[in-house]
């Protein structure tokens, strides 16, 4: 757990010092911002399947649920610090409408590493339980939701 936090912090630090820019960027950090938004969509797609089963909008299927949960866990374990370079937050010039990432993510007091660790823990529990029936899936949704909100509450602005 501590190792995961250290690895996460290290990758964020590396991401902070390695810029990947392309001559054809329409706006600063376009590559990273679009990648991380697409990455969030992958979370959403897989979570959507689990949620649809939990809500009763889709019939429960143990194999499909397990796949979706494993996908979420794999995504959480990706080393993705390079998608979050310092300076790519919404207060940067020109980025106010293009990203909802708040500058707090990169502050000295940021606990983004711990929050990521909590999400990973919740997803590990979900991956272990998703195939054990609808009740098990449902009872793990709360912790997964808390894991998502753990970052979204302090670090993402509401942008309509």
């Amino acid at each position: 757990m501590k190792k995961t936090i250290l690895v996460t912090l290290a990758t964020v630090a590396i991401g902070a010092t390695t810029f990947v820019t392309f001559a054809q960027d329409e706006f600063p950090f376009q590559n990273q911002i679009e990648a991380r938004q697409a990455f969030m969509n992958v979370y959403r797609f897989n979570l959507g399947m689990l949620g649809a089963m939990a809500k009763g909008d889709m019939p429960y299927d143990a194999a499909q649920a397990t796949d979706a949960a494993n996908n979420l866990l794999a995504a959480a374990k990706m080393s993705n610090g390079a998608m979050w370079p310092a300076g790519s937050d919404m207060s940067a010039a020109g980025l106010a409408d293009l990203t909802a990432a708040k500058p707090e993510i990169w502050s000295d007091m940021s606990d983004v590493g711990e929050k990521h660790g909590a999400l990973t823990t919740a997803l590990e529990a979900m991956a272990a339980a998703a195939g054990d029936g609808l009740g098990a899936l449902r009872s793990n949704m709360g912790a997964v939701g808390d894991g998502c909100k753990g970052c979204h509450e302090p670090f993402r602005a509401s942008n309509d």
């Binding site: 959403r44 979570l47 959507g48 949620g51 809500k55 937050d89 919404m90 207060s91 106010a96 909802a100 708040k102 500058p103 707090e104 949704m141 709360g142 939701g145 998502c148 909100k149 979204h152 509450e153 670090f155 993402r156 602005a157 509401s158 942008n159 309509d160």
Partner: protein, 286 residues
């Protein structure tokens, strides 16, 4: 200038603490009055100190724990009702409407009696909170009297469909303790709500623009709002924090959702029914 209620306007009622607790969560009291960042059991220690940065200056929420010196332990039930429905302190000073009494005025007196009794059971705190830090002329508390004269009419919004018990419950929760419009309805320059755009979304007032602020969503049944959410989508989102696409709530809405998650499922369903019934408004384009 509202007059305070007097003792014979308070109905005789033996307090129901369970209902008081329901109103406590529906009203979001802990979100402003518990210490900043409080979680779990600390949410019940209402020591105050949350700061609200607005265009009028910084408001700081007071200690409303039952401590007799630092909180409101020496308040009578009548004092509490006057605060919630008239925005008046026990010594008849105006409260700033950062304390959302324009919504709490819609809560009935039975529920307020229950709520006060519940608050009296919570742990006391001796925390002292600094005064508000408001810019001129808002620092002039007596000016709130003028604001009230202009803005403190009855506040509820009429739904477009015939009332059922569940619709009425939903209306009560949204326009009363839920005070959803306090964020989701846009305001004019003096902080009065634009009732002809009820729940149609607003600019976030909490921080200066461009420094991590955002906008507050339209939650009317328009396609710009939540028009394609079903009633069960709305109720589920309040229970889980996920919207119908499984995007997660963020920012200030997380605390609200966690309060709503403590209500009975029927209450979330009632809120959903009411939100589907109010007038639909397109969002403002910048």
């Amino acid at each position: 200038m509202p007059q305070p209620l007097d003792e014979d306007q308070v109905p005789a009622h033996t307090a129901n603490l369970q209902n008081g607790e329901l109103i406590f969560w529906a009203g979001g009291c802990a979100s402003c009055h518990a210490a900043p960042g409080a979680e779990n059991d600390d949410l019940l220690r209402l020591s105050g100190g949350v700061e609200l940065a607005t265009p009028f200056g910084v408001f700081r929420s007071p200690n409303i724990s039952p401590d007799r010196e630092s909180g409101i332990g020496d308040w009578s039930t009548l004092d509490f009702i006057n605060a919630m429905v008239k925005g008046l302190s026990p010594d008849l000073q105006h409260y700033y409407p950062a304390f959302p009494y324009p919504y709490y005025q819609n809560i009935n007196y039975i529920d307020l009696i229950d709520l006060k009794a519940y608050l009296d059971t919570l742990p006391p705190s001796t925390n002292q909170v600094a005064d508000h830090d408001l810019s001129f002329p808002y620092s002039f508390r007596r000016g709130v009297g003028l604001w009230k004269w202009r803005y403190l009419a009855g506040n509820s919004s009429q739904a477009d469909v015939a009332a059922t018990a569940q619709l009425e419950r939903g209306r009560y929760l949204v326009t009363g303790p839920g005070h959803c419009g306090a964020c989701h309805t846009p305001r004019d320059a003096y902080g009065g709500e634009l009732n002809n755009r009820f729940l149609a979304g607003a600019e976030s007032f909490e921080v200066p623009e461009g420094e991590g602020a955002g906008s507050i969503p339209n939650i009317t049944p328009h396609s710009d709002g939540i028009g394609d959410w079903s009633e069960s989508d709305i109720a589920y989102s309040l229970e889980s924090g996920f919207d119908p696409d499984f995007d997660s709530f963020g920012g200030s809405m997380v605390e609200v959702q966690e309060n709503m998650a403590r209500l009975p499922a029927d209450d979330r369903a009632a809120i959903a029914i009411y939100l589907k019934s109010i007038p639909a408004h397109a969002s403002e384009k910048d």
